[in-house]
Every structure is written in C-alpha cells, then in structure tokens.
Amino acid sequence: MDKLDYWGLMINDYKGGIFLPKRKRESSLTQIEKRIKEGRGQGYLHDYIPWLLIQDVPSSGRATRIRGWKTNRIHHVHSDLERSYYYILEWSDIVTDIREQFPLLPIEETLSIAEELNIKHPTDPKSTQPIVITTDFMISVGNREIARTIKPSSQLDSHRVIEKFEIERRYWAKRNIDWGIVTEVDIPKILIQNIEWVHKERHNEDVHHLGPYIVSGIEKIVLENLSDAHTSLASATSIADDKLGLEPGTSLAMVRHFIAAKRWKVNMSKPILPSQPLDEIIIENEQLRNSAMGG
C-alpha cells in the first residue's frame, strides 16, 4: 500500500475511526501533543506532514490535494490562492522543498509574543483555547529557508489580520528567516493555468508503458505538425495518436508531460490551449529539434 494512503488511515485513526465526525472536542494541549506525536509539522520532503490537513479545517470548498513534484507526497492546500502559489513554487527550478501549513512551535513562544504586544492570540472558536499558528508555506531554496503567508489583499485592511501577521513576523524575525505575504494581486494567472494544466502529467505512467521509442515518435510527429502555424495542438496530437495507433488523448497527455518535465520549453506566459497552435517551442535535444524543423 502506498505510504500516503497509510497516512490517511493514520490520520483517521487519530480522530478515533473513519466514521466519527471530523473534529472531536479535545483539550487544546492534548490535541497539540497528539499532533506532534503523529509527526505533524516535522520532517522534510516526502516525510513532512502539514500541521493542518484538509480534513482538520472546516471546508471552504476549495481545498485540494495535489501530488508534489518535488516531494512526491500529497500536498494539502486550503484555497485557490494557496494552490496558485503552490504551482509557482513547483514550477521554480531552485525551490527544493515545499512544506505547507508549517506550525509556529512551541506555542508558548507565540503566546508570549502576543502577550508582549497586547494582542489576542488566535483561538479555536469552539473551545476558545489558543491554537497553533501556522505559516502557509515554508520554502527551501538551496540551504535557505523562506516563510511565505498567503492572503487576499482585501483582508490586509483588517486590523485583526495584521495583528496575527505581526505575531508571525516576529516569530520568524527571531529565527532570521525571511517572512512575507503573497496576495492575489501579483499572481500571474496565465502561468498558473498553464502549470495547472500540465501538473499532473509530470509523472505520466505512459512514458514507461510506451517506452522511449514510441514517446520520441510522438514527440517527432507532434512537432512536425506543429511546425505548420495553422495546426492546432489538438489536431497535431490527434494525428500522432492516429499514426501510432494510440488511444485518443495519449499524445496530448504526452505533450503536457513534455512541458511539465521541461523537456519542451514553451512560453508559459501565453495561454496554452489545445484548440490553438503551439509555437515558440524550444527543444533541448538538438537532433530532435533539427528533425522537427524539417531539417
């Protein structure tokens, strides 16, 4: 069984069985201890477990689980905005690890910052007990760690939001970790749509099933057809499917794989639409590039 599923079971166990309601009333401290014991907020890459999983947070309807390129584990993102930012991090060539919902532990430290600032520490609305503050993303770039929090810009006018951020900022400042806020204002929407479109094909099983020979066959035929500026990506790939006798859609998925694996470099700031031609493709492999250009 996949280890991730095993986690899933573990998490359900922690709640006392799969069929129990999502959140069981527990005293705050024992809950925090339990989570730490489970390994939440600890580890790196494949072994990291977010402090907050989707199932811990009242659904806002937009939570998503995505299998990560860099970590090969399931990432839990809680909003569209978080997901967008996550995709950019995935696309980056220098980011090595992404740890979402990173806890600011020990809780005593944020409690004392709050007290010092005369700010109310965030609490669980039901139990009114203090809760562990989390930073949305801990990002590793080389051996550097960077903390980023995601928030819609409109909420930055809220006094309360700023107060909570001030706690977060001080916590990271003490650790000399660069902390900052990312809002929807600066998010490049088209880039994200494009990454989202290719994301799940990075580890495309067909690459192994079909073998390198057929895969490069697909690549050649698609590129050849795309070199005609009037041919849409969809028709170029369906020609390839036809010629090679593949199930319809195989080649299109393969193109998404090429882009995701950066085997093809394309202009990511322009919407990639199957109904449109795809130009400005840069291929690293010179031999292939020549044949694609009809050379």
């Binding site: 806002s60 950019i88 809220s158």
Partner: protein, 556 residues
Amino acid sequence: MSNAITPSNSIFRGLSVEAYYYDPQLEDYAGNPLLEALPPIWDEATAVRKMASRPRFNVNERNLPTHLRLHCVQRIARDYFQPLSTHIELEQRISRLIRDGYIGRNPLEPNYAIRARNDAHDLIAYGESSLYPINNPSSSGFAIVGISGIGKSSALNRVMSMYPQVIMHSKYKEHNLSLYQIVWMKMDCPQDGSIKGLCINFFQAIDQMLGTNYHKKHAGGRRSVDELLPIMAQIAAVHCLGVLIIDEIQNLSEAKSGGGLRMLNFFVQLVNTIGLPVVVVGTFKALPILDGEFRNARRGTGQGDLIWDRMKNDDEWDFFLQGLWKFQWTNNKAKFTDEIKETMYEESQGITDIAIKLFMLSQWRAIDTDKGCLTPSIIKSVAKDRLQLLQPALKALKSGDKSKIAKFGDVYASLSVMDYIDELEAKHIQEKRLEMIKSELGFDPNVLIIKQIANWLIDAGIEPAVANAAAEITVQEHQQALEDIDLNQLALKIALANSKVKTVSSPPKSTRERKRGIRTGEDLREITSLGQAKKLSGYESLKLAGYIKDPNEFLA
C-alpha cells in the same frame, strides 16, 4: 392636450456628469469613449464599501424626548443598507452587462449614429434591418426574481447610483464628440402592464434628463404602439443607453391578453438589434411570463437569472442583524442574543425588509411604552398585531408547505427555478463573500472604532504603537457608551500619560519620521495604520514596507 395614460413618476434618477476618460483596465474596453467614461471596474471590497450605508447615530440621542426619538428611528428605513453576498453578485453582473453591451457600440465608428438610428428603427418596425447587420450582441440581460420586500429594488438603486446616469461627452482625445450617454434607465412597468404607458414614461424620463422634447413630439398624437416602440428603440440607440431596467415586471401579468408577451418580445428585440441589455425585475408572480420568449433570449449568455430568495437563518443573517442592532434609540441598548436572533428570524422569515420594519416598529413600541429596551416579547407582540396583513403569508412560509406558500404569489420561493443555481457553488461564494464583507466593514464594530480613534491620535502626533494601545484601552473601558463622541479625548489622555517619556519629550522626531515615509518601524500594525493616515490600503503600505513578496521571486 391630455393623455389617456397618466405617467407614473416611478423613475429612479441619478447624476449627470461631464465625461472623464478613465483607463479602461482591459484591452477590449479601450478606444471606446462610452466604455472609458464609465467609472473604474470595482473589486468586491470597494463595491461593498461603496454600497454600504449607515444612519446617523449618537448615543446622546437616547436622552431625547420620546417624540424626537421616534424620528430618529425613522432614519433606519432611510439610510440603512447592509451589502450582502447577493448584492455583490448583482453589482458584478450589472457591471459586466453594461460594459458588454457597449462593446459592440462605438460612436467613433463612421456613420455610427445614422446606422444606429436606422437599424434600430427598421428592425423593430419591419422586423429586419435594411442596412447592416450591426452589432453582434453578446449580452442580453437577465431577470431578477424574488419575494417582495427582499430588497431587489433598493439594491438595484444602490448599484445604479454608483454609476452616473448621464455622461456628457464633448471631446474624446482628438475627436470632437457631441453626445449624451445615458448609462442606465430604471423604470417601473406600468400598473396595467400597458406598452403605451411604458413608452410614454420612457419619453418623459429622457426629456427630464436631457431636456429633449420626445414626449411632446411623439406621445401627443394618437400614435399606436407599433409606432412608439421603434421610436423608443431609436432613442435608446442614439443616446447610447447602457442598460434598461424594468421593475415590477409582474404587472405584465395584468396586461390584456398578449400584451405581456408583446412587451417581452420588444425587450428581446432591443437586445438583438441595438445590443441594449435589458434587466427585468419582479416577484415570483412574473415567472410564468418570463419562462417563455424572454428566457430564450437569455440562454447561452452565461448570465442566468438571479433568484433572490429570503435569507436563511445562517451566518449572513447573523451578520445582517448584528449590523442593524447597533441602531437603537431606546433608553437602554438591548444585547444581541441568540433568542433575539431566533425571534427576528421566526417573525420575519428572513425577509430583510420585514426584519428592518419589525426592528423599527419594535423600537417605537419600546420607546412609546417606556419599556427601556427591546425584548423578544416586544418583537413578538409587535409582529402579531402590526404585521397582521402579512401573517397568512408568513405562516405559510413557516409551515414550509409548498402548496400553502404557492397561494401567496408574491411570497413564493419556487423550487423548480432553482435549477439555475448550483446550490452548493452558490453557498461557497456566499461564504467567501461574507468573509470579505466582514473584514471590509469590520464585523466587530469595536475594531473600526479603535482604528478611527488610533488614527485620530496618530494625526495628533502620538506614536502609532501608543495610539493603538490607548485607543484599545479606551474602547474596552467604555464598552457601554461606545458611540459617545468624547472617546477621542479620553484616548488622548491615556496616550499622553503613556507616552510622556517617549513622545512628548521628542515630538519633532516622530513627525520627521512620519514625513520620511512609511517605514518607520517593522511593526506591521504601525506600518498599516501610518499608511491609513496617508489613505493607503493595507496592501499598499505593506508593499512599500517590503512585506508583500513577488510570487515569482523563485522563478528564473
């Protein structure tokens, strides 16, 4: 000369302004003076702020004699408007609709006026256009359907008054342009549902706005409806009408046989010929009429109808009532308890207009009978004897029995129309928006007051950290009389006491720092409140201070 039809004055009027051309923000809106002269496209937060309105309120008024306090209560009906998620939806739809409608109409195009005039006329008079198949209307409009009293009309009035009604163009870039652009026109469907009445109202309204003479010219003689409709279309085209809103559309069901259908046909033609979006508004009684011709016209435009149901007893209801609850002129302020919330819902059944009226009536009774403050039992008894006429309908709603509800045509939430809305999707949007509204308007009224006082202190030269703390202490200590105007002074006293060492001894430093820029400290609270004093948004201040990060920072 008298008309058989008395014109109604049920026309909502807006402002007239001279054209100022804004950056249209989007490429497809550029180069079209009609679009560039519109106000900027607001984000949700700005729209909420622009829509919201609160009555004047001063705690000291609680000491006024009874007869004056009764007047104070009246302010609620006049000035209270709480934007809710449906209102944001409405604002956005209208915003898209108006702009979309103008895309196909650019007065800078050669022969635009002649073309518009002739085409509109011919198409409606003869059913076909003689010249060009002009604008390809991508936009058509939609219907707003909801229980009476849920606030459809007042919300529309709010939204429309965010736009000027008439924009006078004289010069656009190097083009001379002499044009009155009517951005919107909102009128009621005549009581008898007659088309002629509608046309005459329309002419009169245009004359009032522009000083033209259409009414005298066209409505005087014995012109038939067949003649009037093309003229109306022509006028709409020539004056670049942005959106036509017809309220009380359920009156069409009173029209003589065929009349209602004909008017809807006319609206459809307006949409198709001159690309003029039409919004029709009515109670559920109008549904059967709307289901025919008009629905077909709206298909495929992506703008489904807006079904405006009564509120559910949920967070948004809570939010709505809490906002209302601040305005009490009784001797004492009644706390907002769960019991009050439930009683209000029970008695108004989530119909906002009834809730507001009930709140006012109950206050009146409490003041009048020297009861001191509002209680659930006052609310209940007021509902019982003052809302008597509504009782049968409310009872039906309470029972949840569809056959009973259906008898009250206007208070009828039909389930069959819900197929327009993916209910779940709608709910998520509502939650998200409520969150935004809360943070925008300050769900906790104290937060807003603290902010105001703190800003006042900062303006007075107090260090922001001290100012914030002082404001907070003041508000906490004077919970009971928050609306009192003296809070500023109290806070100043506390602030001065606390900052004697720091500020008063070195005031020049603090002013100098303030002038130098936003970044006086690293404290985010300080940064944002300083920014606020300079009218910067939280985002802008934090960006200047370097805390807003570029999401692309890790991309090559």
